[in-house]
């Protein structure tokens, strides 16, 4: 019998995708087959190293202009904003968010993306920012297009933005993707559907008219919730124990 969905999951199995999800073919030879070893979190995972995030500028969060060509990226201008929180709903300030995405035509600048979608000389598709004291982030970009991939016959990825979140605690590390609602490709996408059904909506941004700026850009809101407990809680407990 062919196993289509593996049982090995890191974290809450109601939220996180299994490593083996055969409909996404690249998982077949890369998913671990032996059980993960459960161990307690220790100071190694909960203590922040001397991480120095230097030179993050406001321009880094403006993907419409940060190609530094003097020109502006083509496409529907969008603002993507939200809060990074821990499991208790507390904001996570100082988290480094790094994003990458296809351009409005669905093409990445990456050298291995070679489908005949047009490149935009004014769009790199990469950005980053730090969350503020309230855990908030904000990017200005263009809405990405869908792009074709080789996973199966006539496969297209739904429009998405890749997010990497580097939080103060190592155990909170997260790399994920943000999608848009009402995308007909979501139902056909094995990467999105590898997430347990009840948690899939957490990857979809909500249109936010209060974020939309008149005569400028459409607003989308997407919050990110990291696994807890955060480094802040750990430090507080250490202090109270001392």
């Amino acid at each position: 019998m062919i196993i289509t969905v593996g049982e090995i999951v890191r974290g809450d199995a109601a939220v996180f995708p299994p490593y083996l999800y055969e409909a996404y073919r690249s998982t077949i030879r890369r998913a671990p087959r032996l059980p993960l070893v459960e161990v307690p979190l220790t100071a190694s995972e909960l203590t922040r190293p001397r991480l120095e995030v230097g030179h993050v500028t406001a321009e880094d969060a403006d993907l419409t202009r940060n190609a530094d060509t003097g020109g502006e990226a083509l496409g529907q201008r969008i603002i993507v904003t939200g809060r990074v929180m821990d499991e208790d709903g507390l904001p996570v300030p100082g988290a480094l968010l790094e994003v990458w995405q296809a351009n409005a035509a669905g093409r990445y600048i990456h050298k291995r993306d070679d489908w005949p979608g047009p490149l935009d000389p004014n769009f790199l598709g990469i950005g980053r920012c730090l969350t503020n004291a309230g855990g908030e982030y904000r990017f200005l970009t263009v809405r990405p297009g869908a792009y074709p991939w080789a996973n199966h016959e006539n496969a297209w990825r739904p429009a998405h933005i890749h997010f990497s979140v580097l939080a103060p605690s190592w155990s909170q590390r997260l790399v994920t993707q943000m999608y848009f609602p009402d995308d007909p490709l979501l139902a056909l996408d094995p990467i999105f559907n590898a997430v347990p059904e009840g948690a899939r909506s957490r990857l979809i941004a909500a249109y936010a008219h209060d974020v939309t700026e008149p005569l400028w850009a459409l607003g989308w809101r997407w919050d990110i919730v990291l696994a807890g407990p955060g480094a802040t809680a750990f430090e507080a407990r250490e202090q109270s124990a001392a």
Partner: protein, 171 residues
Amino acid sequence: MTPSQTVGPFFHDCLLRDDRCESIAGIDAGVRIHVEGRVIDGDGAGVPDAVIELWQAAGFTRISTDAEGRFSFSTARPTRVAFEGGTMQAPHLSLAIFARGLMNHLFTRIYFADEPSTDTDPILRRVPEARRTTLLARREPEGSLTPQYWFDIVLQGEGETVFFDFKSPVP
């Protein structure tokens, strides 16, 4: 919680641009060690599009594998880290591995085969004995000034590396 998704194949320009990586690299001071290895899939083939992040008290490092799945990095030799009840963990490096086809990153640790306290490490002792060796970096015998270690990361199959699922903190 927000579910994870694969890093995909197109992360290099964002996650590995030299100027950006250097700016988050941290201080990473101390006696240097050099670690080399390969990321290997279930067919025994090198994984050419993996990202490895390395986290320890001295700093943070992010590297990618090359076309053959090889990686190498230099970092400060780690020191012992506190555990519960005044006991200590053996020196180790914490690793996260990301790749196309990995729906969630994998957490593992590098321990050092030539470090005496490795045998008594409380985390390593929770690993089935037959699999502990997958977490040990081997000292290469050459007499270089910078100690050289070898550590393969086997995602699947024979010699599969131990990957961790961290649960609640030590009470």
